[in-house]
Symmetry: D2
Subunit: 369 residues, 4 copies
C-alpha cells in the first residue's frame, strides 16, 4: 500500500515540496456527497502558516478537483485533487545535499532512495505534502459532519505548558468546543494557557530554536461497534495514519501513558444508563475498548517533536567524504509545527474513521443515501 | 484484513479464550528457516503466568505446527500452529453475560456482534489469544536473530516507579541487555527499581486491585532504509500491531511524548561518523526518521492499562433490563499484565519488522538464502 | 496476501496433501449466520472421489470448526475449520523427488522453495487443499442461499463433447437447474450428453490417460450495482480466485471467447422492461457490464486441463544430475478432475461474491441482520 | 483497493472520458529507473486511433509527469502522470442519459452510482482511461526490458480469422517477433492473415457494425519461481488486471480452453535439459505451473467483445419512465477495439509482472540496483 491508506475508502498522496504540484486521490467515496469547498478552504487555512509562530513561506494552496466530481457532488469514481506549488526556493537546499540535516529525513531518504530522491525542501517527506492530505481529509470530514460525526483538535501542550483536556469536558460541551476550534489561529480550550503556549513558541523562535508540543483530538458522534479486535483495532488504524504525519512520535488514547500510574479501580470506566443509552462515567479508554468504538467520544493525543530546522549550527556528516562537519540551516521554518498540525490531525482522523465506517456499513454509508 | 497483519509476511490469528483451541497462520515465510522450538518455548514461558504477579490460570501452551514445516524447516507454504485450551472454567463467566465488565470489551463486543460473540473469558478479545501471537512472533524473531536483528522488552514503569531506559545505554551495551531479558521472570534493566516495581504490583494485588505500567522495547541490527514516508512508516506499522494488543493505550518512539517539552536544539539527533558508519549521538527519534529506519536502535514504549478485572465491586448496567446495577468479578486475574505483555510486544515487533524487511528485500530475505 | 483471498470477507488456506491436517480460516463473517453443516457435507461429498471417474484415494473429509462458532452460529470472530489427512501414502512420492512430473507444480515449487517444499503428494499445491476451500466456500454459499443467491456448476465439456449451456435456459428455469446439480455424481444439464462425457472420461482412464474439460457456473439472485470499474471488477475478482484453483487455465464470462466471432449487433444485450424490472433479452455479457453486476445471472466458464498424472511413461529431467530421464507415475489419480472441481468452483464463487457484497453493503450484510 | 492494482508496485487510475484530465499514480517504483519517454510515447501511439479501423476521435495523449521524477529518473516516491482531455464532444452523450446503451456500462453505473456518475462518454468506464494505464504500464515495461523481460501482443483473431500463435514459434524467434509488434499499425504475426483480419474489421465498419476479437500476449525473460499457489497465482494476478480492461470477457493461458479437448498425454509439457537449463518441449501451460512461473514464456490470450457502440438502432429502456424504447447511437466509435487494446494488454501485463517481481525480490529489483 505504501502511499495509500484505507481499505474501503482509500487516500493516495503524491508530490514533492518543490515539484510542480502535489495531490491526493480519494477512492471509494460514496456517490452523491456534496463537496463542501468552504469547509475544505477553512481547513487549508488552518494548516497554512499565518503568523509569527509559523514559517515565512506562504502559499495559497488552491486545490483543483480534476476527477470524480460532477455538478458539485462526488460521482463515486476516484476523486483527484491537485495543488500547484508556487513559492519554492530550491536554491536554499542545494548546499544541504551532502550534509543531512539532523532529525530530518535527509539521511534515511538517502539510505532508501540511493541519491535519487528529490531532496529539495524535503521532497516527498515535506510537511508541504500535508496540504494535499488536509484537502482530502477535509472533504471527507465535511461528509462525516453531515452524518453527525464531528472532529476537532487543539494544542494540548507546548513545552512545559499544558492546555485543558477534552477529558475534563462534559459530553454536552464537546460539540461547541470542537466547533470553536475551526479557526486558522492557534487554537486552545483554555485561552489563558493558550497565551502561555504561544509565548513558549515565540521564545523559542527568538533564539532561532524550535519547540515541540502535543495535540489532543476528539471525535464525537461515532457509532458504537466499529473496529476489530485483531489487528485492525480502531486504535491501530488511527495510530497508523497519525504516525505517518511528519514529526509525530507518540500517540495515546484516553488517559494513555497516564494509565501506567493508575490502579484498575481508578482507571476503569464504569457503565451507567439513563434507560435509553449506555455510557461510561469516565472516558479513560478514549471511546475504544477491545479495538471497538463504545459510542463515547474518541480522545487521542499526538506528540509532535520540535521542528528539526533550527538556526543554530549543528554537527552533521559529509556523505560524500564520510567526514564530520558542521551545518547551518537557513531558509524559512516554523518554530513549532504543532499549530499547523491541528488541521493535519483532523484530516487524518477523518480518513481513518470514514474508512472504518465504510468497511462496517458499506460503500454508500458516507453519503447517507 | 482484520485478523491478519502484514503484507509480504502475514500473520492471521484465530481462537477464543474458552474455545477448543487457538492458533496462528504465518504466510509468506521464506522457505528454509530452521524452526527454533526452544526459542518459541522460552517466549511462551515469558508470557505464561509464573508467580504471584500473575493470574492463577496455568496452561502449558503446547503448540503444534500442522502445516508449513518439514524436517524442522519452513517449507514456504503457510505455517499454522495450534494451541489447545485446557484450563478453562466457563462457569466463572456465565453470570457476566448481561452485565459488561468495566473497561473490558464485553460491551463493545455486544455492539458489534449482537450477542453472538463468545463471551466466555473474553472470547476472541482475551489476552489468551496472545499465546498464539507469541508463538508465531517467536518463530519469526528467532529467524531475525539468525539475521543479526535482536528484539527485547523490559518493564519500563509500574505505577509511580520507572526502570532505566534503553536510551541511556551505549550501543555496545544493548545486545547483552536484550539477551538478559530472555527470562520468564518479570524483567528490568535496573534490579533495584525492578524490586520496587514488583512491590507495586503486589501491593495492588493485596487490595484486590490492579496496576498499569509501560514497556520499553529495543530492536538492534535493523538495516537502514526500511519503511515508507506515507502511509506505511515504520512507526505506523509498529504502532498498528502494538495497538491491537489488548490493554495497550499508548505508543511512543524515542523520547516520544517527552519531545513535547524539548527544544529542537536539545531534541535533534546530530550525526557523526567514524569514517565507516554514520550514527547519531543521541537517539531521541528512536531509530526512525521520516518513517524510515536510520540504522540506530529502534526504541518504542508502550502504555499498558491496569488489568480491568479487579475484585472490588463496580458499577455497571444490565443490558437486558437497561438498568444500573453492580458487579463483582470473581475468577482468576493478573494484578498487572505488563510483565506477561513483554513477550507479546516482542512477538508483535518481530512480525512488524520481518514484514517490512520482506517487502523491502523480497520474500527470501528472512532465511538468508 | 498470498494464501488469503478477499477484502471484507477473507479466506486463508493452509495445509499439505500429506501433512497432519489442512484447514481454512474465514475472517469477516457476519455474526449470527446459522452454520449449515448438511450443506457443507453435501458439497464435500460433491468434491470427494466417488466412482471410476475419480481417484482411488478416499477420505471422509471430516471437518471440525475450532473457532468462530458458538451454538451453531458464527460469532463474528475468525472461523477456523480443520480437516485431518488420513489416507496418505507418502512412499508413492519418494521416487519423484528428483524427477519433476510434467505439468505438475513439482518443478516450479523447486524453483520457488529451493527444495524445502513438502513434495509429498503435491504438498500445498495438491488438489487435496481444495477440501478446505470447499468447506469454507460451502459455509458461505449456504449463507448466500439464505439471502436468495444461488450458485451452481455443471460439467460443460469433456474432450469433444459439450453439455447444454445455462445461457440457453430461461431465467425461471435456472433455479431448479442449479438445485438439481447438488449431487455427488458428475452433473450435467443434459443427461444424454452427460453420458457421452462420462464415456470420454472412462475411455481416457482405460488408456491410463486423462482428459480435460470445462465447467460452467451460474449465480442467480445477485443484486445489481456490485463490482468496480478499475481494478476490482466482478470479473477480476472471480477470475482471481478461479485461477488459483489447480488445473484451471481459462476463464470466460457470458459468451467469452465466442464473442471474438460475433458482430456487435449480435453480441449486444439489449434492454427491456416489464415496468418493474430492467433485464436484457440475451446475456452474452454474463451478468456483468463495466465490471459491475447488472442483476442478470452471472455466467462463467472455466477450462480445466487434463490431470497431469497419467500412467504412461514420460520424459523428464533429473534435477540433481541435470540429465534427461524418463518417469512412470504410479499412485492413485483422477482420469478427469473436472467432475470433482464443480464443488470447488462453487466454493470459490461463493467466497468471491460474498466478499464483494460485504464490501458493498457492510460486514453484517451476509447474516441478513 | 478498487481503482488501485498491485501490492509492492501499485498503480492507481483516475479520470473520466470528458473530465478535465485523467491520470495514473505509480507507487513503489524503485528509485533510479531511467524514464524512457520514447517508449511511453510509442505505446501511447499504439493505443491511439490511427486509421479506418478506429474511432475518429483523435487526441495527442500528451502526458505530463508531475511527481516522482527528477532529472529523468524515478525518485522512488509516487509517480503521477496526467493526461489532459482535449477533443471531447459531450453533447453527443446528453441524449443517452436516460436510455442506457446496450452492453455498455451505462445501466450498471446507474445501479451503482445512483445517477451521480459522470455519464458523458462513459465517464470513468471509458476506454479513454486506458491512455493513463498505457502510459503507466509503458513506463514499467521499459524498465522490465532493461531487466531482460519483453512483452508483446498481437491480434490473434478477428471474427472468423485467426493469426498464428506464439505457441508455434521457437523460443529463439520470440524476441524478434515481440519487437516487430512495436508499431502503431494493427499488428499480427502472419501478414497474410493480418490482411484478412483487417478486412473483417472494415466489413463490419461498412455496415455500421463492430466486431470482436482476441489478443495473444507473450512475456519472455521471466525468472522462474515467481507467483503463489493460493490465491495470488501468476494467472490470478494477470487475469485480475486483464479483466478490468473494458470489453475483456475471457482470459486463457497456454492452450487455455483448448486443453478441454486434450488428453493428458498430449497436454503435458515434458521436461528436457541441455545440461544447463531446464525447459519444456511444449508450452501448453503458458509458462505457469501451480501458479508459479517456470521460466518458459508466459502466453496469455484475451477475448475482446465487439465494440458495443454500433450505428444500428437498438432496443433499450427509458430509466425515468420504465418503458421500452429504441436508441440510435451517434458519435465516434471504433469498429473494433482489439487493435488499440494491444498496448493496453501490454501495459496491464507489465504492471502485473513487475508487482510480482517486486514482491518476490524486493522493491529495488526493477531498477537493477
Amino acid at each position: 500500500m505504501k502511499n495509500s491508506f484505507g481499505s474501503s475508502l482509500t487516500v493516495t498522496l503524491f508530490g514533492e515540496s518543490h515539484g510542480e504540484m502535489l495531490g491526493a486521490t480519494i477512492d471509494g467515496l460514496a456517490p452523491g456527497i456534496k463537496i463542501n469547498h468552504e469547509y475544505i478552504k477553512n481547513k487549508l487555512d488552518e494548516r497554512r502558516p499565518a503568523d509569527k509562530t509559523a514559517t515565512a513561506r506562504r502559499e495559497r494552496d488552491e486545490y483543483r478537483i480534476v476527477s470524480g466530481e460532477r455538478n458539485g457532488f462526488t460521482t463515486g469514481a476516484p476523486l483527484t485533487l491537485l495543488i500547484p506549488n508556487e513559492n519554492t526556493k530550491s536554491s536554499d537546499y542545494e548546499s544541504l545535499r551532502d550534509t543531512p540535516r539532523p532529525s530530518h529525513a535527509d539521511y534515511t531518504a538517502e539510505c532508501k532512495y540511493h541519491g535519487y530522491q528529490d531532496y529539495r525542501g524535503g521532497g516527498h517527506f515535506s510537511g508541504r505534502i500535508t496540504a494535499a492530505l488536509v484537502a482530502a481529509g477535509a472533504l471527507v470530514a465535511a461528509a462525516l459532519e453531515a452524518r453527525g460525526i464531528y472532529i476537532g483538535t487543539h494544542i494540548a501542550r507546548i513545552g512545559a505548558v499544558s492546555d485543558d483536556s477534552f477529558l475534563e469536558l462534559r459530553e454536552d460541551e464537546l460539540k461547541s468546543a470542537i466547533t470553536a476550534l475551526d479557526t486558522p489561529a492557534p487554537a486552545f480550550l483554555n485561552a489563558e494557557r493558550g497565551r502561555k503556549m504561544t509565548e513558549e513558541i515565540l521564545r523559542a523562535a527568538e533564539c532561532g530554536d524550535s519547540v515541540g508540543g502535543a495535540l489532543e483530538s476528539c471525535i464525537i458522534g461515532m457509532p458504537s461497534g466499529v473496529g476489530e479486535p485483531w489487528f485492525d483495532s480502531m486504535e491501530s488504524q488511527i495510530a497508523h495514519i497519525l504516525f505517518s504525519i511528519p514529526a509525530v512520535k507518540g500517540v495515546e488514547f484516553g488517559r494513555g501513558f497516564g494509565l501506567c500510574e493508575m490502579r484498575g479501580s481508578e482507571a476503569n470506566d464504569v457503565y451507567y444508563t439513563d434507560g435509553r443509552k449506555i455510557k461510561t462515567k469516565t472516558n479513560n479508554n478514549g471511546g475504544i475498548l477491545g479495538g471497538i468504538t463504545s459510542g463515547m467520544p474518541i480522545i487521542v493525543r499526538t506528540a509532535i517533536k520540535p521542528t528539526p530546522s533550527i538556526y543554530t549550527e549543528q554537527d552533521t556528516v559529509s556523505l560524500s567524504n564520510m567526514t564530520n562537519t558542521r551545518l547551518k540551516i537557513s531558509g524559512r521554518h516554523d518554530p513549532a509545527i504543532v499549530g499547523r498540525a491541528r488541521a493535519v490531525a483532523d484530516a487524518a482522523l477523518a480518513i481513518a474513521v470514514a474508512d472504518m465506517l465504510a468497511v462496517r456499513y458499506g460503500t454508500d454509508w458516507l453519503s447517507g443515501k
